[in-house]
Amino acid sequence: MRAFAAQIIPSDQSLPGADEAGAVYFIDRAFGMPFFADIVPVVRAGLADLDTRARTLGERDFASLSPGRQVAIMRQVDRTPFFAAARMLVVIGTFADPSYGGNRHGAGRTIVGVEHRPTYSAPYGWYDAQPGPSATKPDA
C-alpha cells in the first residue's frame, strides 16, 4: 500500500507526497472504519493482485519492483474499482485531519499551497490585493 500511495501522490524535491504525509497510517485506520467497510475487501484484493502481477515479473511483491515497473503495473489496473477506491484512500490519507493518522507535518497543506492559520484577513488573494474600484475594505 505504501508503494502504491507513493505513486499516486509522489514525493519530489520541493514538495512532500503521500509517503511523507503518512497516508498509509490513515489507511490502516480506515480499514477498521465502518464508513469504508464496503471498499476494504476491494482494496485488499486489489493489493494482492498487484503482488501477483509483480511475481509474474520475477519479484517478491509489488513494493520490491522498481518505480518504473510499479507504474507500468498500475497503468494496467488504473481503471478498476480497486484503483479508484485505493486512490481515494490515498488522497484522504494525505489531506484529512491529522487526527486520523495521516496528513503528517502539514503535508496536505504544503501540497495544495495554503497557509496554515485558523483564520485569515483580507486581502485573501492577488486580485483583491490590487488597488482599484473592486477593493472593498471591511468597513466600506
Binding site: I8, P10, L15, D97, V112, G125, T136, P138, D139, A140
Partner: protein, 549 residues
C-alpha cells in the same frame, strides 16, 4: 444554557417540529409574544465549540446530516420504475439545533416581486403546477427587513434589488479575489456584479463576533458564531424567555388529531427510541420539505386517510431543488478561495425569465470555490489532468489556490409528478418509512442549466481565466434545498396551507418551511424561508390571541 422544561402531562400552546431556519424563528417570535412552547428537534444541541473543520467527517461521512442517521433513501424517475438506492445527493438536511441554517453558505438573496407572480407574467407551463403565490413581495418585504436586522445580514444595495424599507444593518464583508475577477468578467460583457448579501457578520452585532474568514462556511458549523444560523441568533433568545423548551434528539413520528379533526399534539421518539407525546393547543411543522412531508403522510387517521392536511393530494408533490450549473477557471495569480466566506459578488442580470431564450428559467451567478482539499483532489480537476502520479500532484499544487467556479443558481419548476413519498421497504432506525424521491427534470429546467452554464463560461472567458473547464450538466438527484412539498395557496384543492401557513384541512395546524414555496425562486431559499417564518409568527400569534385557532 438552562431552559424551561415542561412535564409530560402539561399541554403547551405550541409544539414546533424542527429548530431550523423556520422553526428557530417561530420559536423565538412566539415565545417572545408570551406563548409556551416545546420545539422537537431530531438531532443534538451542538455548541459552536463542537464544530470542526474535519472534512472527512463533515463532507464525506455527512456527520451532521440526516444521511448519517438514515443512510438509505430511494429514487426513481417516475412511478412505473422500481425505486433504486439513491447514491447521489439525496434529500439532505442537518439534524441538530439550528437545522441546516448551521451548515448553510449563508447567501441571503431576497426574492423579487416577479418571484411571487410569475405565473401571471409567463403563463401556464404544461405538466407543472406553476402558480402565483397568494402573497406579494410588498407583503413580505417588512419581514425580509426583519430577517436582516434580527439575525444580522451583511450587504449593500445592488442595481437590480427590489425595494427595501431599511438598509442592511451591516456593511459587506471584504470582497474576495473571486469577486474581483467576476466583476472584471461582468464589466467586459456589460453586466453588473453586485455585492452578495450574506447572513454572516462583517462587524460585531447583537453581542456576536464578526467573521474571521476561516473559509469553512458551506457544510460546516461556524465555531465563532459569526454565521447567522438560528443556533447563533434566535434560539438563545427563544430559550431566554423562559417559555421555550428545545427538546433535542426527539424525532416526531405522528401529529395526533381528535375526532373533531383538531391537532392535539405530537408523538415522538426520544433518544432511546421510546415513544412519547407532547400535547399542545396547536402544532407548527417546520421540519423542512422532506421531513414535513414524511410527518404529514405518517399522520393518518380515519378522518385523514391520505395523511394530515392532504385533501388536495399535494403533500410531497412539486418538490423543487433549484438548478445549478457552472464553469471552473484557473487564473494566473492566486485567488486563495480557501479563505473567507463562500461568495462575495454575484451577477443578477439574468434573474428574470425571458421568452427569447426559448424556455422558462432565470437565475443568478456567483463566484465561489467551496471545496476543501479532499473534495477538490477527488472531484474538481479538469478531465485531461491525470488522476495519479507526478502530473496529478502538480495539478493539486497549481489549481487549488488559483481556481474558482462561476456558479449559476437557477429556477426549478413545480412538476406534478416530482414527489417525495413514503418508502415502506426502507424504514429508518425508529421504524418510520423511508423517503423515496420520484423525480424527472422538466425539459425547461435542463435547458436553463445548459443556458446558464454557457453564461458562466462567457463570464469566465471575459474574466481572463488562463484556462477553463466545465462539469457535465446532469439532472438533480437530491439537494439541501427541499422546496414546494406543502405549498401555499388560496384554493384548498390546489394547496396545503393558506396564505397564513394554516393547513386548509386542520384549523390549529400550521406548516412553515421550504415546503411552503409555490415556486422555487433562483436558489438561496433560506432568506425567504425566514421571512415567511417571521410573517407566519405574527399571524399565528394574532390568531392565538383572538382564539381563532
Amino acid at each position: 444554557m438552562t431552559q424551561r422544561a415542561y412535564g409530560e402531562s402539561e399541554t403547551v400552546d405550541f409544539v414546533i417540529v424542527g429548530s431550523g431556519a423556520a422553526g428557530g424563528v417561530l420559536a423565538k417570535e412566539l415565545a417572545t409574544a408570551g406563548f409556551d412552547l416545546v420545539v422537537l428537534e431530531a438531532g443534538p444541541w451542538q455548541q459552536p465549540s463542537q464544530f470542526t473543520h474535519d472534512e472527512l467527517a463533515v463532507e464525506r461521512e455527512n456527520a451532521m446530516l440526516n444521511l448519517a442517521f438514515e443512510p438509505i433513501q430511494t429514487i426513481r424517475a417516475n412511478e412505473s420504475e422500481p425505486a433504486r438506492l439513491n447514491t447521489g445527493r439525496a434529500l439532505a438536511y442537518r439534524r441538530g439545533v439550528g437545522g441546516s441554517s448551521v451548515h448553510f453558505a449563508a447567501n441571503y438573496w431576497r426574492f423579487r416581486p416577479i418571484d411571487f407572480k410569475e405565473r401571471s407574467r409567463w403563463g401556464s407551463i404544461s405538466g407543472t403546477g406553476f402558480a402565483d403565490w397568494p402573497i406579494t413581495y410588498e407583503e413580505l418585504e417588512p419581514y425580509y427587513t426583519k430577517v436582516d436586522w434580527e439575525i444580522g445580514v451583511s450587504g449593500a444595495a445592488g442595481p437590480f434589488d427590489p425595494r427595501r424599507s431599511r438598509p442592511y444593518p451591516l456593511p459587506p464583508l471584504p470582497n474576495k479575489a473571486s469577486g474581483v475577477v467576476l466583476e472584471r468578467g461582468a464589466r467586459a460583457l456589460g453586466l453588473h456584479a453586485q455585492v452578495s448579501p450574506l447572513a454572516i457578520l462583517s462587524k460585531p452585532y447583537d453581542g456576536r463576533s464578526p467573521c474571521l474568514a476561516c473559509g469553512h462556511c458551506s457544510y460546516y458549523g461556524c465555531e465563532f458564531g459569526a454565521k447567522s444560523s438560528t443556533l447563533a441568533t434566535v434560539i438563545p433568545k427563544a430559550v431566554a424567555t423562559g417559555r421555550c423548551e428545545i427538546r433535542t434528539e426527539s424525532t416526531a413520528v405522528r401529529v395526533e388529531t381528535n375526532p373533531s379533526g383538531r391537532a392535539t399534539g405530537v408523538v415522538y421518539r426520544d433518544r432511546d427510541g421510546r415513544e412519547r407525546r407532547q400535547r399542545s393547543r396547536a402544532v407548527i411543522i417546520a421540519a423542512n420539505g422532506a421531513e414535513t412531508t414524511r410527518l404529514l403522510l405518517l399522520s393518518t387517521s380515519s378522518a385523514f386517510p391520505n395523511g394530515l392536511a392532504n385533501s388536495s393530494g399535494n403533500v410531497g408533490r412539486y418538490i423543487m431543488f433549484n438548478g445549478h450549473a457552472g464553469t471552473f477557471g484557473r487564473f494566473e495569480h492566486p485567488l486563495n478561495e480557501y479563505k473567507g466566506p463562500v461568495a462575495t459578488r454575484m451577477v443578477h442580470d439574468f434573474y428574470d425569465a425571458d421568452p427569447k431564450r426559448g424556455f422558462y428559467g432565470g437565475g443568478g451567478i456567483d463566484a465561489r470555490f467551496n471545496y476543501q482539499p479532499i473534495g477538490f483532489a477527488l472531484g474538481v480537476l479538469p478531465n485531461d489532468v491525470p488522476t495519479w502520479g507526478a502530473e496529478f500532484k502538480r495539478a493539486l499544487t497549481d489549481y487549488f489556490t488559483h481556481s474558482v467556479r462561476f456558479y449559476a443558481h437557477i429556477t426549478s419548476l413545480p412538476v406534478a409528478t416530482n414527489t417525495i413519498t413514503l418508502d415502506h421497504d426502507h424504514p429508518d432506525r425508529w421504524g418510520r418509512p423511508g423517503l423515496c424521491l420520484t423525480f424527472t427534470e422538466h425539459p425547461d429546467d435542463m435547458k436553463a442549466k445548459h443556458w446558464f452554464r454557457d453564461r458562466t463560461e462567457e463570464l469566465m472567458v471575459a474574466a481572463g481565466a488562463a484556462r477553463l473547464w466545465t462539469q457535465p450538466v446532469l439532472p438533480a438527484d437530491g439537494s439541501v434545498h427541499l422546496l414546494g412539498t406543502a405549498r401555499m395557496g388560496n384554493d384548498p384543492s390546489e394547496s396545503v396551507v393558506d396564505r397564513y401557513h394554516r393547513a386548509h384541512d386542520v384549523r390549529n395546524l400550521f406548516i412553515c418551511d421550504g415546503s411552503s414555496f409555490v415556486t422555487s425562486g433562483r436558489g438561496q431559499p433560506t432568506m425567504t424561508i425566514q421571512a415567511l417564518a417571521f410573517r407566519a409568527a405574527d399571524h399565528i400569534a394574532r390568531f392565538a390571541r383572538s382564539h381563532d385557532i
